[in-house]
C-alpha cells in the first residue's frame, strides 16, 4: 500500500519533501510515511503568498483527527502559491501526498540548501530504520 518514494524529490528528516519545477519554483509537501503516521488529515494551516519561509523552520501545521503537527520548510524562500484545494479536501494529503496533496509553491532563495536534504534512497533508509 505504500507509495514509492519519488526520485525527483528531496526530503527533510521531519518527513517533508520538495520538488523543483521546470520554472525553478519549489513545491513542498509531506511524505507518504508522514501521512500514514498522522492518519486522516482534517485541516492544514499554510502561509499566504508573500510569506517568507526559512529552511528548518515551521511554515504551517497539519492536523489529523488525533493531533496537530508542525510542518518544517525544506528550503528557504517566498511563498508564491498555496494549494487552496486542501481547504475543502484535506484528505488529498492522505490520498496523493506527492501529487494533488502538495502544500505550497515557493521561489527558493538559495538552492545550495538542497545539499542539506536527503535524496530518495537516504530517505527510504531513514524510514526503514524507524519501524
Amino acid at each position: 500500500m505504500a507509495i514509492p518514494t519519488p526520485a525527483d524529490c528531496r526530503f527533510t528528516k521531519e518527513h517533508e519533501w520538495v520538488r523543483l519545477a521546470e520554472d525553478g519554483t519549489a513545491i513542498f509537501g509531506i511524505t507518504d510515511y508522514a501521512q500514514d503516521s498522522l492518519g486522516d488529515v482534517v485541516f492544514v494551516e499554510l502561509p499566504a503568498p508573500g510569506t517568507q519561509v526559512k529552511q528548518g523552520e515551521t511554515f504551517g501545521v497539519v492536523e489529523s483527527v488525533k493531533a496537530a503537527s508542525d510542518l518544517y520548510a525544506p528550503l528557504s524562500g517566498e511563498v508564491i502559491e498555496r494549494n487552496e484545494a486542501l481547504e475543502q479536501s484535506p484528505e488529498l494529503i492522505n490520498r496523493d501526498p506527492y501529487g494533488a496533496g502538495w502544500m505550497i509553491k515557493v521561489r527558493p532563495a538559495d538552492l545550495s540548501e538542497l545539499s542539506q536534504l536527503l535524496d530518495a534512497a537516504a530517505y527510504d533508509q531513514l524510514t526503514a530504520s524507524l519501524h
Binding site: G39, D40, V42, F43, E45, V65, K66
Partner: protein, 396 residues
C-alpha cells in the same frame, strides 16, 4: 558516587483476548487506561466513524471493567455506593450512574444492569477498574442503609469476562442473525441474557455512540470466535472493526462525557449536567450530604458544548476566552475533535454560568491566537429518526 536504585518499570499494558486479531488486521495500537488498544484500523478514524453512523461498527471494549453484585442486600448496597435510584431498576433494565466520594466528587461514571432479581452487573471505565473495585470493597466493610456485608456477593468478572460493542443503525439486523431470541423488543437501556454465535452472552442495548447499538458481555475465551462471527454476519451490511479514535469522535458528537476529561474527582454531577442521575430523595448514600449542599448552593460553572465557527480543530486543554477576539480565559476545553458527521470542530468545557447559555459567542485559543466559537446545546448530533427513548443520555 552513590547510585540510586532505578525506578520500577511501569506495569506492562494489559491486552484483551483480541490483541493478536487487531495486529493481524493492521490496527495501530495505543495505551489507554492501562491497556493496549486499537485506536484505528487501516480504514482510518473517519471511515470507521462514518461506518457506525451509516451501517454498523464493531468495537473491542474488553478493557472496561465488569463487576458483579449479587444477594439479598445487593440492591441496597448499590443504593449506598451509587447516585442513581437502583430501586427503579426492574429486572432487565439498566441505568447510567455515578460513584461519588464523600465530598461529592465523581470517582467514575458507570452503567448498572439488573440481570436478575438479586443479580446486578456494573460496567466501569478501564482506567478506574482497580480503584473502583478497591473503593467498593472498602465501602462493603462498613455500608450504610442497613446493608449486611455477608448478604452481598461482590466480585470482579473481567477478565476472563470481556465486552464487545456493535453500534449503528444496522446493528440489530446483524446481531439478530447470531441470536436466537427476538431482539426487536429489547428497549434502549435494557438487557437480556441469551447467546451470540452460540456463546452465552448478556446483551445490553446500551452504547457510547448515539446510534442504536448493543454491548455484549461474555467469556473472553470465546472472544475471537464471537468477533469473527459478528464480522462475518455483518459482511454484506459492511460492518467493519472500529477503534478508540472513532469511539471518541462518535461519543463527542453524541454529547457524552468521558471520565478524566469532563468528569473527574474535582467535578460534581450538577456542574456536569448530570443532575438527573443523582436521586437525593432515595435516602442516605456515599456523598449524599455533600451533594445536597452542592445542589442547594447551585453550580458556579457549567459543562457546555462548544463549536468552532471557522476552519480548524478544537482540542482538550485549549483555553476558552471571553470573546471571539480574545479577552480573559474563562475555562479550558475538556474534549475537542473534528466532527466527521457535522463537518466542523466541536468540544466541551466548563464555563462560568454567565457564558453557559446556548448561542453565547466565546473564543478558543489555538496556537496562541483567538478563534471565534459558540456555546451550543448538547448533544451536537441526534439520530433524526430515533424515538425519544433512544436519544443518548446527554452530558449537559
Amino acid at each position: 558516587m552513590t547510585q540510586t536504585a532505578p525506578p520500577p518499570a511501569p506495569p506492562a499494558l494489559k491486552r484483551t483476548p483480541l490483541y493478536q486479531v487487531h495486529l493481524h488486521l493492521g490496527a495501530r495500537m495505543v495505551p489507554f487506561g492501562g491497556w493496549e488498544m486499537p485506536v484505528q484500523y487501516p480504514t482510518g478514524v473517519l471511515a470507521e466513524h462514518h461506518a457506525v453512523r451509516e451501517r454498523a461498527g464493531l468495537f473491542d471494549i474488553g478493557h472496561m471493567g465488569q463487576l458483579r453484585f449479587e444477594g439479598p442486600d445487593a440492591r441496597e448496597f448499590l443504593q449506598w455506593i451509587t447516585t442513581n435510584d437502583v430501586a427503579r431498576l426492574e429486572v432487565g433494565a439498566a441505568q447510567y450512574s455515578l460513584l461519588c466520594n464523600e465530598a461529592g466528587g465523581i470517582l467514575d461514571d458507570v452503567i448498572v444492569y439488573r440481570l436478575a432479581e438479586t443479580r446486578y452487573m456494573m460496567v466501569v471505565n478501564a482506567a478506574n477498574t482497580d480503584s473502583d473495585q478497591a473503593w467498593i470493597e472498602q465501602q462493603l466493610q462498613r455500608p450504610g442503609r442497613g446493608v449486611q456485608p455477608e448478604r452481598v456477593a461482590f466480585e470482579r468478572l473481567s477478565p476472563p469476562r470481556t465486552l464487545l460493542a456493535l453500534q449503528g443503525p444496522r446493528s440489530l439486523e446483524v446481531l439478530q442473525r447470531l441470536t436466537p431470541v427476538p431482539l426487536g423488543s429489547l428497549r434502549y437501556y435494557h438487557a437480556l441474557e441469551s447467546t451470540v454465535a452460540a456463546v452465552p452472552t448478556a446483551i445490553a442495548r446500551t452504547g457510547y455512540t448515539g446510534e442504536r447499538g448493543y454491548e455484549l458481555s461474555f467469556d473472553g475465551a470465546q472472544a475471537v470466535h464471537v468477533w469473527h462471527a459478528l464480522l462475518e454476519a455483518g459482511k454484506d451490511v459492511g460492518v467493519i472493526p472500529c477503534g478508540l479514535g472513532a469511539r471518541d469522535t462518535l461519543r463527542l458528537e453524541a454529547g457524552m462525557a468521558l471520565y478524566s476529561h469532563e468528569l473527574t474527582v474535582e467535578t460534581n454531577p450538577y456542574e456536569a449536567g448530570l443532575e438527573r442521575v443523582v436521586h437525593l430523595e432515595k435516602g442516605e448514600f456515599v456523598g449524599a450530604a455533600a451533594l445536597r449542599a452542592i445542589h442547594a448552593a447551585g453550580p458556579t460553572r457549567r459543562l457546555v458544548g462548544i463549536e468552532l465557527l471557522g476552519p480548524g480543530v478544537l482540542r482538550p486543554e485549549y483555553p476558552i476566552l471571553e470573546h471571539a477576539t480574545g479577552g480573559a480565559v474563562i475555562g479550558r476545553l475538556t474534549s475537542g475533535a473534528p466532527s466527521p458527521t457535522l463537518r466542523k470542530s466541536i468540544g466541551m468545557g466548563y464555563v462560568p454560568l454567565q457564558f453557559a447559555t446556548p448561542g453565547t459567542e466565546v473564543g478558543v485559543e489555538i496556537r496562541g491566537r483567538p478563534h471565534a466559537a459558540r456555546v451550543v446545546t448538547l448533544p451536537f448530533y441526534r439520530r433524526a429518526t430515533a424515538a425519544a427513548s433512544e436519544q443518548p443520555r446527554k452530558a449537559g
